[in-house]
Symmetry: C2
Subunit: 306 residues, 2 copies
């Protein structure tokens, strides 16, 4: 039987198609806040970056911070993201913000979740529910839905990109690498953070995430031939130069960008929901090559309940 | 001859005393921006968190992002932080912001640096100049100077804290650990990031930094008995509980907080310049135990010049 996580990565193009019929719109002038934990926080981070870049006002905070410190940015509308809708911290955060008069909206991939009962408005995407512990397809689904709130758009050729990504990753000598570094600016920094988390959760590897040029300012001390650097590039000359330098230093480098090892044009960040696919597959492949079951990561559960 | 890095960590109390005669004041109503790379960025991140928490308006950005993307937050006054004052990205960033009419101020631990020639106003702290590649004492020095711009204050008992920290770290079975995780909220998140960088630069170890509660949402997959978690705590019940849980899972845990393994009361973040001392020493000790020279980290130079 095929691994559940792999099936979920593979059905992403189909999930994204389903998102296109979900009505969702954001308004300028409102202060939005995204709340989540783990991958859901990373998703909110990318969403907030994209909103701010497009003339909206948005911020992001972890459910854990709201719960532990009682502290959060000012907002008119808060989105609470949780695939299962059962994360204790996110539910408690929703209760706290509702009490303070902030309009609360849940975004979940489930029906009748605890979080949905807590919020004033609910967006349920049960078609993107996942059996696996690690968030993959649901991550792209929710992110794409939010970005379509900025503008109605489609990403062309997702199936082709998925296929080419898989082929590229299949050709990588993954056994050489035990140290994975992800680099990106802005929304791609959020994606780098999420990518590191995927490889950590599924394959239990040593991972890092940084802004591209800041990688030279200390972190590159630990670069060796066992290091695989994945560059989520905006195709600036500085990033191209950095990729070249790191390759010369002996690291493996996967450049994901225009004319890259895995080619994807930079579309002002709107391509982000698809950009992560090669790395989700890479995490899966590395896990399997080590005899790990990516469906059941060590020490983890599907929802963190306090 | 004693290691240079160790001498520099040890003289931090003396450096902080010298800072107290440096006149520096921040004003409410102005929009401040901190610019730096690597440790200087982490320093700016902590400073920005502290300013915002105290009713000032502040943001932080890497020199690399300004240079590569030409993108930066709006500001009235920008501080450019570079110990040597020679980091190419920070110098180029200063030039770019000056051109856009932002008032530029350099903060350096040197005399007549390239960065100082570029900025309209210069704060030189040559007494905190360092021979070593890794920033230690100068980090606390600059941070303390900036925080004293919020309010004139002193940190009591630094020498005692330094001594007790060293004793604690000396008793740690450091050879057991090859995976170092740093946790903290807000300004302590910035400190966790900086701490991870120290252990990476000096001791070439596998490092991570997270918000405390988010550590359960994925990263803890890789926790083993080789993991040492350093919790920079604000002493919330949630953090205390987390420390207990991680210890039960088999990790080593160093709790730095009130009644902690290393005791330091939370003083609304104003204690941050001193809080990092135990970890700087830990990084140094781990490096030496591996036969590495913490004065000369692998792959690194004192200033990154493009």
């Amino acid at each position: 039987m095929e691994n559940v996580t792999l099936s979920e990565i593979k059905r992403t193009p189909e999930l994204l198609k389903q998102v296109e019929s979900v009505p969702f719109k954001l308004e300028k002038g409102k202060r939005y806040l995204f709340v989540g934990c783990g991958s859901s926080y990373n998703l909110g981070y990318i969403a907030a970056e994209m909103l701010n870049k497009n003339g909206y006002e948005a911020d992001v905070v972890t459910g854990g911070k709201i719960v532990a410190l009682g502290d959060f940015p000012e907002a008119d509308v808060a989105f609470f993201i949780s695939r299962t809708g059962e994360s204790t911290e996110t539910v408690l955060a929703a209760k706290a913000l509702k009490k303070r008069g902030i309009y609360t909206i849940s975004i979940v991939c489930a029906k009748d979740a605890e979080l949905s009962k807590t919020c004033e408005e609910n967006i349920e995407l049960p078609f993107a529910d996942e059996e696996s512990v690690v968030m993959t397809g649901s991550f792209s689904t929710i992110l794409y839905m939010i970005l379509r709130g900025i503008k109605r758009y489609s990403i062309d050729g997702i199936e082709g990109f998925l296929g080419k990504s898989f082929e590229y990753v299949d050709r990588l000598e993954l056994k050489k690498f035990s140290h994975f570094v992800f680099l990106g600016f802005d929304e791609l920094y959020g994606l780098a953070k999420e990518s590191a988390l995927k490889v950590q959760e599924m394959a239990l590897q040593w991972v890092e995430f940084h802004e591209p040029l800041d990688y030279r300012h200390g972190p590159k001390a630990t670069l060796t031939e066992k290091t695989l650097v994945v560059m989520y590039s905006k195709d600036t000359a500085y990033e191209v130069e950095l990729a070249k330098e790191l390759k010369q230093m002996g690291a493996g480098v996967v450049y994901i960008g225009k004319e890259g090892d895995i080619e994807i044009p930079y579309q002002d960040g709107f391509e982000t929901p698809v950009r992560i696919l090669p790395v989700q597959y890479l995490a899966y492949k590395k896990a399997v090559s080590l005899g790990l079951n990516p469906d059941k990561p060590k020490n983890l559960t599907k929802s963190v309940k306090l």
